[in-house]
Amino acid sequence: MVWTIAQKEIRENLLSLRFVLLFLLAVVFIPSSLYTNYRAYLSRQADQQQIEQSNRDYLRKLKLSQIFTNPKFSLDVYWPPAPTSVFAAGFEEIHPRHLVVGKNSVEYGAPLDVQSSSGLFGSIDYLFVVQFIFSLFAVLLSFDAITREKEHGTLRSILSNPVGRAVLATGKLLGGYITFAIPLLIAFLVGILILEISGLNIFSGDFLPRTAWILALSFLYIAVFFLMGLLVSSLVSSTYSALVLSLAFWLTAVLVLPRAASLAAQLWQPVKSRQVTWLEKVSVESSTEMEKGRLLEEAYRKNSVVDKEGRRVADEGWQKKRDEIAAPYEERAAQSIRRLENDYRTRKAAQLALGLRLARFSPAGAFVSFITEMADTGIREENWFTAEAERYREMLQRELFSKIQFDVFPTGGVSMGIRGMVNPAQLPEFRLPRSLVRDSLRGADIAILLVWFLVAAALTYVALARYDVR
């Protein structure tokens, strides 16, 4: 009986205007957005390779003298684009892809392309199409599933048969949902096919497993909205009310809530800006330099002699004296800066966590969070990149920065030197290990969507049981 009802639903829906329009939108937008984003990915990849090559050349030709004469010496590290970004590219420079690793801290580097990273509109990607268009049409297909039948009088005809209300609900759910799944599946497969033809090897790496997860969650996400429409339809008796309520739900859940979350997080837990933190770091650095320089100058006068030509030359005890004086200052500066940096990072992370938690209340928020992580363009990826850059900085500290000595004297002298063996050509390159699928899997988001689904289903069954079918 369930299947009969489902079949009727499918037949009705397949011939309807909304199905045709949805099919059109899906088949036009999904493959074309996948293809366009693939082209963008290729160009980003080419840029990345060029930049890495020129970076490598730079390191190879780097002379020691260039390093220790520059107190602000730093290396650039880049986050390579992932092929799965074809699903969720969004803005091209959505996350900082370029970090600058210096002696005491890791800072944001300049964006790779000023023009395209600052535009009025985002771009269309798969995530966008499913998140907005499919959810809207899911609601549009289901909002009158019950009320339409009630208004036509066919609801009581159906229920005058030995058909349980639960069976009716299941039949409608199944039928409506299958109508949905078809355009999505077809458009998706066409898109993947186009990608394969254009040169992306879908069988390489973990592309296929990630794609599978993305598709699966898309089905779950749409099911949630379909169910919510169905729920609203079983709560009210007029199609018109069902429409307004369903659209209001869609508006709030998809358009408003996720964005409002970032607003709320900023209000609740404001963080002092990066600019201010940076200025604080700079001021700590320069004040320590001055202190250190002053003391060193006095000590130099005591530990040096004037030679025949009237120039001051350091005596044997100088180096030890210098180290004695300089070490605590450098240590203190490094610690203060690390503390400022950690402070900022912790607060920022707390604000981020709050915003994410709020945004993921909405099924759209949870969906976006899951897909961006699975597509390797998510927030977790950015943290991973920053953490790896930190590790690289620590390695550079050990291998390079700790062996460089740079002192500024208040009267205007500068002393620089290298202690120990440093070979710039042998400095290890920055390598960002690829994250595994299981690391990108956000179980919490799946759970949130499942909860929405189950609660909506339960409420629908209850509402239908009490529905006045006359």
């Binding site: 392309d113 985002g122 429409l243 970032s262 800006s273 600019q275």
Partner: protein, 479 residues
């Protein structure tokens, strides 16, 4: 006449009453009251932070300036009207620094704010463009077809009322009900802003805010009329609704994003980083050629001064040496400047063409039109981007003329050994206080003048749609 006028008023009252007791009005009211004041307030808090950051940066710049190092970097001030429409304010570089011959742009103001970048932001522009347009459709979709279904349409027409008056009453009634909550929420939001310290009454800001409000009203009206029009095309409200939802998706979600994507595909432009690489390679190769040409001169000088083998020097005390050096190096440096200027001009031209194409394609949709218009007024639009980048390049040219061209940088190589020389050319004066970068917002007349076409388009669209709706309604079968 009097009867006709009273009839119109009666119809108007009926329309308004119908809307006021409906759920959709409640939804509209709730969304307006919640979203508009909140988004205005939070955006203002963000703007205050940006302003504070900007002032901090200005202080550092002043310190740099007092040490004679000003001018080599510059800042872009935030626009106060970004509170209403973020536009490119959050993503456009907020500063730059010059390391001749490169200009290095900084990051945008919201760089590294992952929540905002993943989920997007709410500003007044978004509320109007996306939320209120959808609700306008919601109000309009069953204006005609719904009445037909209920049977009340033929009853209304049985009275001596011309059809256009009925349509007019529907339009006026719907507009009043749509606009009232919107304007009230806007007023509440603005009051909160003023209490929080927003300079609403400073200079031209009040006028611009009024203009923004006017544009929003026209935009909502346009969508409402569009909804009415579609409602007159079909006899079933549901069909009208589905068509309108489809239209909404295409106009609000689709066209604005597609316009830029299409422009990028139709008129592709190399990334800035690619161009920078090209410039670097060019610079290196010309430098090498120059070095080879200068080699003999430097070697001769070293021999003349009886320097130890492996040492060269730039003898600034010898005017003949300096003259010969300038003579040899001159053409190379001139060529480098020309090439650089050419590459940059080329890039700029291509970018502008791409942007123009995108804007033209985007004119298909009132939603993207609104974005362009509102961001133009708020000084956060694409034109600000162009203006800033142009100003930076102009500043660089000025510095080049005054400073960079008066210094020399020679790289000589002989087999495995290399020498580098750089400094100020003797006899050439460089200003003690290099010119500072300053960025000013365009005058109102200028920024409005650019968008006159778009404003006209928006208005024309609304009027045309109303005409179309009238025609369609006149032919409507009301039975």
């Amino acid at each position: 006449m009097i009867v006709g006028g009273m009839m119109l008023l009666t119809l108007l009252k009926k329309e308004i009453q119908d809307y006021l007791i409906s759920i959709r009005f409640v939804v509209l009211l709730a969304l307006c009251i919640l979203l508009i004041p909140l988004s205005l307030y939070v955006n203002f808090e963000t703007y205050k932070r940006w302003s504070a950051d900007y002032n901090e940066q200005v202080k550092s710049e002043t310190i740099k300036g007092s040490r004679g190092r000003g001018g080599l970097s510059g800042l872009r001030p935030p626009s106060a009207l970004s509170v209403f429409a973020n536009g490119v304010e959050t993503s456009l570089a907020k500063d730059f620094s010059i390391q001749s011959p490169r200009i290095i742009f900084g990051t945008g103001r919201s760089y590294g704010d992952p929540i905002y970048e993943t989920f997007g932001r709410i500003d007044f522009l978004f509320v109007v463009q996306a939320v209120l347009s959808l609700i306008a459709f919601l109000f309009a979709f069953d204006a005609i077809s719904g009445e037909k279904e209920l049977g009340t349409l033929k009853l209304a027409m049985a009275n001596p009322v011309p059809r256009y008056k009925i349509l007019l009453a529907k339009f006026a009634g719907g507009m009043i009900v749509l606009i009232a909550p919107f304007v009230v929420s806007f007023a509440i939001g603005s009051t909160i802003l003023v209490f929080a310290g927003y300079p609403l009454f400073q200079g031209i800001i009040l006028a611009k805010v009024a203009l923004i409000l006017l544009l929003a009203t026209i935009y909502i009206g346009l969508f409402f009329v569009l909804g009415l029009f579609v409602s007159t095309l079909t006899h079933q409200s549901k069909t009208a609704l589905i068509m309108l939802m489809f239209v909404w998706v295409v106009l609000v979600l689709g066209v604005p994003r597609l316009s830029m994507m299409a422009a990028k595909v139709l008129r592709p432009v190399d990334d800035d980083s690619v161009v920078a690489l090209r410039i670097k390679l060019l610079t290196e190769s010309i430098d090498k050629e120059k070095g080879n040409a200068l080699k003999q001169l430097y070697f001769d000088k070293a021999r003349e001064k009886k320097l130890s083998p492996g040492l060269l020097t730039f003898d600034s005390a010898d005017p003949e040496f300096v003259r010969k050096r300038n003579e040899i190096a001159g053409p190379f440096e001139a060529r480098m400047r020309e090439e650089l200027a050419r590459i940059n001009a080329d890039q700029q031209r291509k970018r502008q063409a791409q942007l123009n194409l995108a804007r033209n394609i985007a004119r298909i949709s009132p939603a993207s039109l609104l974005s362009y218009l509102m961001t133009d007024i708020a000084d956060t639009g694409e034109h600000i981007k162009v203006r800033f980048l142009d100003a930076v390049r102009l500043h660089y040219s000025a510095l080049d003329r005054l400073i960079f061209s008066k210094s020399y940088q020679d790289t000589i190589s002989d087999g495995n050994t290399g020498w580098g020389f750089g400094g100020n050319l003797p006899g050439q004066e460089t200003p003690k206080d290099p010119p500072r970068f300053s960025f000013s917002f365009p005058r109102t007349a200028e920024s409005l003048g650019q968008s006159v076409v778009d404003e006209g388009l928006l208005l024309a669209c609304a009027v045309a749609l109303f005409a179309a709706a009238s025609v369609a309604f006149i032919r409507y079968d009301v039975r």
